[in-house]
């Protein structure tokens, strides 16, 4: 066990836990951030995506010890922003949400993409979301939603 201090959704937290615990489990079980989903559990599907120091990562394969001193944003933290509001509306309008399981990861991936590239092309959106699997939509509506958010939220990213 070790004391690990980091920033979680803009709040400094400290936890005494095994440094080898998965970040995903800690976020869900200790902090109740259940918007972070477990899909494959192997770093392939992106349902567990969070931002660490503004970069998207799969929390299911991040050992807790490696987040010491870093800043983590989950979908719950991101949902308090204007950018999330624009993305959420675009996802709703374009029909980009069906079962919804992949949606938190898709929104985090969209935020990560738009942060570095506010006006992506279709191809760039596909690459940006390539680590996030959706088994319902066929992706077209998600790509449209990101494009729409990029236009509506011009200046936010």
């Amino acid at each position: 066990m070790a004391k690990i201090k980091f920033t979680l959704n803009n709040k400094v937290v400290e936890i005494e836990e095994s440094p080898t615990a998965r970040l995903l489990d800690i976020l869900r079980d200790k902090y109740d951030f259940v918007g972070v989903k477990e899909g494959c559990g192997e770093g392939e599907c992106g349902a567990c995506a969070v931002l660490i120091n503004d970069k998207i990562v799969n929390s299911c394969i991040v050992p807790l010890g490696t987040v010491e001193g870093k800043s983590i944003v989950t979908i719950e933290g991101f949902s308090k922003t204007k950018r999330h509001e624009v993305l959420r509306e675009s996802f709703e309008e374009e029909g980009a949400v069906q079962c919804g399981f992949c949606t938190p990861g898709m929104l985090i991936a969209s935020e990560s993409l738009l942060n570095t590239n506010p006006h992506p092309t279709d191809e760039e959106i596909k690459i940006g979301l390539s680590g996030n699997l959706c088994r319902c939509t066929g992706y077209n509506m998600i790509i449209k939603a990101v494009k729409s958010a990029s236009k509506k939220g011009d200046g936010l990213w």
């Binding site: 770093g43 970069k55 990562v57 394969i61 010491e68 991936a109 390539s130």
Partner: protein
């Protein structure tokens, strides 16, 4: 992977000592195999505080620290000037952005993964590795070391050579491992041909390289013959992804395409 202890090293020497305290101790790279591997590890050693996460450009080379992520390699515009961006393109095809933000150069190379989309292009360039105790050696020699030394990979060094390059990863689905991957480079009229995911570790097609590098003119017949020699000398195998026969056919096609591409692009 079952890990009993976690150790955040402050210096390389500290990490090295801890690594050698117990045969099951290991260095954590990006952590991508924590769930997929069934290894039992007494102590996992984290190098995060040691500062191996820089890409340093010198006059003659790029030095890439072991903790640099694949995403950082992919996005490095200066590296893209080497051999038609084959190293950037190689890592670009690995899973999604979130995984590439985690996976490190050190973990990818030290693991000597046979399906690696990083090792194949690096081998076709001019790449060395620097180990803490073992010092500097060509990547090729490092890959040939039979025993997994209890040493620490500090960085890789890529010589600044602006030759021509071709890299292709054949995969069945977008996020899958390579069925086969091929890199072909050309610098000062000398070709290098590397084939990985055979399914064994990437290696040079030595006889094919010798043949093509002794030709005065690269004709379609020479390209055809080179690809043929390469698949005759290299050993291919069968696994759940593809048969030996299929891999042999694929390798021949992609070597041919690679030779054509680096030859045509020069003209």
């Amino acid at each position: 992977m079952e890990i009993f202890n976690y150790f955040k090293a402050q210096t390389i020497e500290e990490a090295y000592k801890k690594l050698n305290e117990n045969p099951s101790n290991l260095i954590i790279g990006g952590g991508a195999w924590l769930r997929l591997s069934s290894k039992v590890v007494e102590t996992a050693i984290d190098l995060i505080q040691i500062g191996l996460s820089q890409i340093v450009e010198t006059e003659s080379s790029f030095e890439i620290g072991a903790s640099v992520t694949l995403r950082e390699v992919e996005k490095n515009e200066s590296l893209a000037n080497l051999y038609s961006s084959i190293v950037n393109n190689g890592v670009h095809g690995i899973m999604g952005v979130a995984l590439r933000n985690l996976v490190t150069v050190g973990g990818s190379i030290f693991g000597k993964y046979s399906f690696s989309d990083l090792i194949t292009p690096l081998l076709a360039m001019n790449t060395e590795v620097e180990m803490y105790k073992g010092g500097r050696m060509p990547l090729e020699d490092f890959l040939k070391l039979r025993t997994r030394e209890k040493d620490i990979l500090l960085k890789i060094i890529i010589q600044k050579e602006e030759g021509l390059g071709y890299y292709y990863k054949m995969k069945k689905t977008g996020l899958d491992f390579a069925v086969i991957n091929v890199a072909v480079t050309k610098l000062n009229s000398k070709f290098k041909i590397v084939v990985g995911a055979r399914p064994s570790l990437a290696t040079f097609a030595v006889k094919a390289m010798e043949y093509v590098n002794n030709q005065s003119k690269i004709t379609p017949e020479v390209i055809e013959e080179t690809a043929k020699i390469a698949v005759e000398e290299l050993k291919f195998g069968t696994n759940s992804k593809a048969s030996e026969e299929y891999r042999t056919e694929l390798a021949q096609v992609y070597i041919r395409r690679g030779l054509k591409e680096v030859t045509n692009n020069e003209n």
